[in-house]
Amino acid sequence: MHPGRSLLRCLCLWLALQGPTQAVQAADDGRDPIVVQDPHYGEVLFYFYQEDYFPAIVRLLAAKEQQQLDAHADEGELLLGGMYLSYGHHLEAAEIFERLLANNVAPDIRDRTWFFLAKIWYQRGYLDKSQQALSYIERELPKNLQREALMLESQILIDAGDYDAAIAKLQNWKGKTEWARYAKFNLGVALVRLGRVEEAARLLDDLGNLDPYNDELTSLRDKANLALGYALLQDGQARAAKAPLQRVRLEGPFSNKALLGVGWADAEMDNYQRALVPWMELRSRNLLDSAVQESMLAIPYAMAKLDSISQAADHYLNAIEAFYEETNRLDRTIQHIESGQFFDDFVEDDPLDSAGWYWRLEELPEGLEGRYLFHLLATHEFQEGLKNYRDLSYLYRNLDEWQMNVNVYGNMLETRKEAYALRLPRVQDSLARADLDGMVSRKLEFDSTLNNIEESHDWLALATRSEFEMWGEITGLESTPALRADIPEADEVRDKIRLLKGVLQWNLERDFGDRLWRIRRNLRQSGEALVATQRSRRQIDETMRLEPLRFDELSNRVYGLAPRIEGTKVRVEDALSKQRAFLQSIAVGELQAQKQRLDIYTVQARFALAAIYDIAATVGDASE
């Protein structure tokens, strides 16, 4: 099958699906092509190439079970590992790789596989396994993966709180690529966490002044400036904090926080007039942003400091009102999320045939919730949780379909059993009437008779009925008494009879050989037909013996699988509700945090307002 097909080793195929860079590498891999030697393996590839991993895995497992993949045993196993990984079944994939990668695969492919496994495990929160997979990499990865692997390794250390080790790992990083800059940023953050602000400031300042050539780097520069600004503010260096904060773009994802920070830096330096400039700019921005919310308190705070008490009071009242409305919206959203329907909407419009690791929800469903939760999409935990939720929904639907099918198969089997039971007596009756042994004896008798005829050259025995009758008539005429008379007429008739007898005998003897051959041929064909009939008979007997056993075996399987489906379905349903509860807890937790922040702001606003009223009352009393 497929002579000359450029089918590279299966792992290269899987790696090739990981991204364009790897695809190029796989294509450049100059290994000998593998020829698809079995249609079943080709069928697995048909689904694999369409990235329909579930049916591909099922077919591969079925073909393995039936020993139909002997010609592709090794690559079939590796392909299975790759597909498990693509399907998000990473633990099973790792088992296969651990078993097979040691000896069977080129080191560069093995290292790349471990790298991808490490990446998946990191995203799924298996930090220990991710670290272990990275430790299996023996040689140098291609440059781009090498940088990513180092980032991954340091990130794992940062996540585990081992900042010193992360710093040590990243300190020697000399590259000028985007990854190097991310490494620098992470290193800066790790240093801030260790309280080494001065060291962090050097790194972050460097990043904050970079000349970006794409959106990602612009965003990274903003983040570095923001982190540095707030680190310096926290360190009591308000003046120094202003410069990095002012470097953040005015329109961008970090601009609100930066504007707020600039205001606080001025406020720290008792310059409330200046602080009001960035804070007033925030007033016109989206109230969902915590920086905008906080600016609603910061503005009256500055105004109060500038003795604009009445304006400050107005702003506090506005803030309390806005926070109240926002809190109500949050409450409604929390209620909707807790109702359970929300997460089904996430996967509702999504086709369920491409489950797996690569799926990613890019947009939230329309509605209030999307407004509050859009940032959750960027978190690994939420995305991976959603993937699991989606995969579980797929499993549930799959089991649901099988449950219906198995019921149909049960009915089908019962119908077949009934039809079999109905037909069996008729077949048995026909078989009893068909005397096969008698036919065989008769055939043997014919053989023997024919042998005798041949031996004795009994040409009359092979005469046709009409010839035989004619022969009888002629011999009958011969013995007619009238012909014995000695008269010329009788002589004439006797001559005619002799002539006729002679002609007939001549013809019969002439055709004897031909007739003998034809009869022998017919007998041979009858013999063959008899043998075939005997074989069919044996098959029928065998079928009659095996069919009830086959029915039993199929019944056991059908009726055994039905409860297995039911049991698994219940467990999938249970896992679905746990997964939903987990996602709900993340989403609700996020909303509660927003609500809590609004509550704190509201309390602060009320206290500030009370203080203003107190001051106003005291001033009033004094003036009276």
């Binding site: 099958m1 099922v58 099973e92 940032h375």
Partner: protein, 198 residues
């Protein structure tokens, strides 16, 4: 209100910035990451453990459902197409320079049994080496005639329709027939070959 608010805000913002960094193994939507980092580190770790425990359950279930699907797939095949009467028809392509497959029509003993229209994704999977099981049938032992008609775009993107036929002997065991589309480079034409597998 006093300046304590300022340090509160600074601390919160610093926490945000740090957590943003913690998300940055790969460049992410910065605004989304910013807000996602609001949760505290301790609860992050707890939540990660909870996620991992759930993920392990999902992994176990995936394994069970896949095994169950394998068993059901085999049962379905044995039930609907018993080995002694089973015949499977596969479509494959080699190279595919001179033919772009649109559809395949299959007739067995003069009776149409399959008419399959290929999507671009499926046709691509065929070109890359996939083999499509286009039809399964139950046939009696003995001789049968198969006619396959391929429709698509031939050389110079012209409409192309070609047939291939074979008389095959169905024995007692399962039988597989592969309808292969190959390129005949000399003639710059596609070639349609039917192969038998036992």
């Amino acid at each position: 209100m006093t300046k304590t608010l300022i340090s509160l805000a600074a601390m919160a913002m610093l926490a945000i910035s740090i957590s943003v960094a913690a998300q940055d193994v790969a460049p992410l939507n910065a605004d989304a990451a910013m807000a996602a980092a609001m949760s505290a580190q301790a609860s992050e770790s707890e939540s990660r453990d909870q996620f991992r425990s759930l993920d392990q359950d999902v992994q176990t279930l995936k394994k069970e459902v896949l095994d169950l699907n394998r068993d059901l797939f085999l049962l379905e095949e044995e039930l609907l197409f018993p080995a002694n009467s089973q015949v499977a028809f596969f479509i494959s392509m080699d190279v595919g320079e001179y033919f772009e497959l649109d559809s395949v029509n299959i007739k067995i003993d003069g009776k149409e049994v399959a008419n399959y229209l290929y999507t671009a994704r499926e046709a691509d999977a065929l070109i890359r080496g996939g083999v499509h099981r286009v039809h399964m049938a139950n046939l009696k032992t003995g001789d049968h005639e198969l006619i396959a008609i391929f429709t698509g775009k031939g050389p110079h993107v012209r409409d192309y329709r070609r047939g291939a036929t074979i008389t095959f002997d169905k024995g007692i065991g399962a039988k597989y027939l592969e309808l292969e589309i190959t390129d005949r480079v000399k003639k710059q034409q596609p070639e349609f070959v039917i192969k038998e597998w036992e």
